[in-house]
Amino acid sequence: MRVMAQIAMVMNLDKCIGCHTCSVTCKQTWTNRTGVEYAWFNNVETKPGVGYPRRYEDQEQWKGGWMLDKRGRLVLRSGGRIKRLLSLFSNPDLPSIEDYYEPVTYDYDNLVSAPAQKDIPVARPRSVLTGKPTAITWGANWEDGLGGAPEHAGGDPNLSGEWAEKVKFEFEQTFLFHLPRLCEHCLNPACVSACPSGAMYKRVEDGIVLVDQDRCRGWRMCVTACPYKKVYVNHATGKAEKCTFCFPRIEAGQPTVCSETCVGRLRYLGLLLYDADRVGEAAATPDEHDLLDAQRGVFLDPHDPEVRAAARESGIPEDWLDAARRSPVYDLVMRYRVALPLHPEYRTMPMVWYVPPLSPVLDAVDAAGGNQDDPDHVFAAVTRLRIPLEYLAELFTAGDTDVVAGVLMKLTALRSYMRERTLGEDGDEAVLKAVGLTTREAEDLHRLLAVAKYQDRYVVPAAHKEDAAALTAMENRCPVETSGDTEPRKIMLGIPTLRRNTNAGGRP
C-alpha cells in the first residue's frame, strides 16, 4: 500500500443555478491574459448541450482518455508512444479555436469617443485574434439555459442510443441542468501520460496536476489526451496551461476561487486518501460499469488504523490525517455514496465528483401530475421516466442507470424524511431504511447537503511549515505566465531578458 493524499472536490448539481460566478472569478484570477482569452479553466455548461469545446465528450472524434486494447491493457486512446511522436508535427486530434470559440472584445472606446449624433453609439464586437470586427457565432456556453437547444443540443454526444430519440421528440417537456467543469485532477491523468516532455505531473502531496511551464515545449499532446479538454494551448506563449486547483490558495488552507465564490454553495473540498499502487489496476477494470466501484476501491478509509499507519509511513502529516477524517468529500463519495464521477468510462479516475441533480426528475413528477413530496411518486418517476435517468447515467456511471437511480432515490428519501421532520412530524423511517440510511446518517447527510457551513464544506489542510521555504520560493513565479509585455498581441518570445525582469525583483 502506497498511501497518497488528494484534495478532491464534490459538486452538488441540484444547487447549481448556472450563474457562472465560478467561471468568471476563475477567469479573472487565471486566464484574463493574452493567449488564453478563449480558455476557461472552470466553465459551466448547460446539459443537454454540446459542451465546451464542442462535442468534447465524443472520444471517437477527439481520442481523449484511455481505453483497453485487445489484450485488455490500458492504452491512450490517442495512440501509443510512437504514434505520439509521429504526430508531433501535426496533431490530427487537436481541437481548433473554432471548436472552442473565437474570443472577442468590444469597441468600448466608441461609447465615449463617438461624436454627437442622432443614433446611440454602440460597442461592436472585435476579434481578439485578428483585431477585426467580427460576428459572435459561438461561445463557451452558447446554448445557456437551453437557448438554441433545438438547433444545437441534439449534438450532445451523451444523447446516443434509442432513449435519446425521446429527448429530441419531447422538447416541450424538456429538462436541463448546469454542469460546472474544471480539471478533474485525475488519479490516472491521460494528459500527464501523453506529455512527451514530461512537463506535466501529479503532485505527490495533494494530487494536483500541473504543467511545469519551464519544461513544456508546446507539443500539445496533453490537449488531445485529456478527455475533458481541460488542458489549453496558450497561443501566445505556445505552452499548455490548465486549472491549477488554485494551489497557492490550497497550500494556504483556503478553498479554490471557484469554490470560495460559488453562490449556490454547492462545492465541497476535502482530502481523499488513496492507494497509488492500485490506480493502474483499477483503471484497467474490464467492464465500464465496474469502474465506479473500482475507483472507490482505490480510496482508503482514513478511520482505519492500518491505513493511518501506512499513511504516516508515507509521510502524510498528522493534521492531514485528521483533515482526511473530517473530509466532506470522503463522506459524500464513500460514506453516503451519493457523489459520482464524471464519465468514469474515460478511465482517467477523475477526482471532481458530482451529486447528480434531482430537479429534472422532480420536474418530470410535476409534469406527470404527481406530488414532488411523495417519495412513492418520485421513486416511480425515477425508475419510469427514462429521459433524465439514462442521460445522467451516460454522464456519471458509464450508462449504468441502476447506480444513478439508487443515488436519486437516496436523495428523494432524504428529502421526504427531512421534510416531515422539519414540519414537526416523526418522519417515515421505512423510507430511509429502503435506501440504507439510519436516522442519524440522514440528519448528517442533510446537514452536509443543505446547511453545511464554510468550514464544513471546505476542509483544506494547509501545507506544512517544514515545506514553507520551498513554497515561498515558488511564490516568486506564477504557474501560468504572460510574456511580460503589457501591449497586447506583441509577444516577444525571442527576447527572453524582457521576461526575466519580472522575476528579478523576487531574487533573494
Binding site: N91, I97, T130, D214, R220, V233, T237, A470, G494
Partner: protein
Amino acid sequence: MNTARSPLAASASGADLLLWVAVPYICLAVFAVGHVWRYRQDQFGWTSRTTQLLEHRWLRWGSPLFHLGAFMVIAGHVVGLAIPDSWTEAVGITEHAYHTTAVWAGSVAGVAMVAGLGMLCARRLLTRRIRLGTDRSDKFLFPLLSATVLLGITATAAHNVFGAGYDYRSTVSVWFRGLFVLQPHPEAIAGAPLLFQLHALTAFLLFAAWPFTRLVHVWSAPIGYLARPYLVYRRRTAAVAAPTAGGRTRSASGSRRAA
C-alpha cells in the same frame, strides 16, 4: 594534398579569411554561447511555439512535409559534408553512384522541405491570426531559413541536376570539415560557385540565429518519452531542485545558478 597545408595559406585573401574563417567561427561561437545562455535564462520561452490551434489546414500538410524533408536534408548534409569522399570510395561507392544517389534522394528531400516551408510561410503570411502572433525572432528566422533552403536547392538544381555537375565534396566539404578540426581552408571554398558560397554563408548566419529563435525546440525532441513511465509524480518540495530548470532554480537558499 595542398589542402592539408597551413590554414593561413598565402592563396587566401583578406576577404576570404573574413568570409570563410572569421564569420563561421563567430557564428559558431554565438551558436554555442547563445544556447547556453538561452537554456539557462529562458526555459519558459523554449518551445516549438505551436500555432496549430489557430490554423490547422495548411499545417496539416506543411509541417510534416517540412520536418520530414528537413530530417532527410540534414542527414544528406551530414553525409556530404562530414564524410570525406575518400571514405565512401574506400567502401566501394563510386563517385558517380554517390552523386546519383545524392541528387535523387536530395531532390526528393529538398522538394518536400521547400514545399512544406512554402506552406508554413504562406499560412504565416496569409492567416491574419498567425501573422499578428509572429514575433521579431520569427520575422528574422523565416526569411533566413527560406533563403538558406532556397539557395541550397537552387545551387543543387543549377549545378548538379541541370548543370554539368559540381563536386562540392572536394571543395566546400573540405572547408567545412577544416573549420571543426581547427585547420581552416578558406581557399577550398573561395573558388566555389556563388550559389554554394551564399548557401554556406546563410547557413552559418542561421546557426548564429538559432539559439535566439524557436529553432531551439529541435534540441528538445522528446526521444526520452519512449522510455519514461507513463505517470509522472513530483513532490512539491522537489520542485526546488527541478532538474532542467536551469535559470529558474527555485532554491530557497538563494543560490541562483544562472544569476
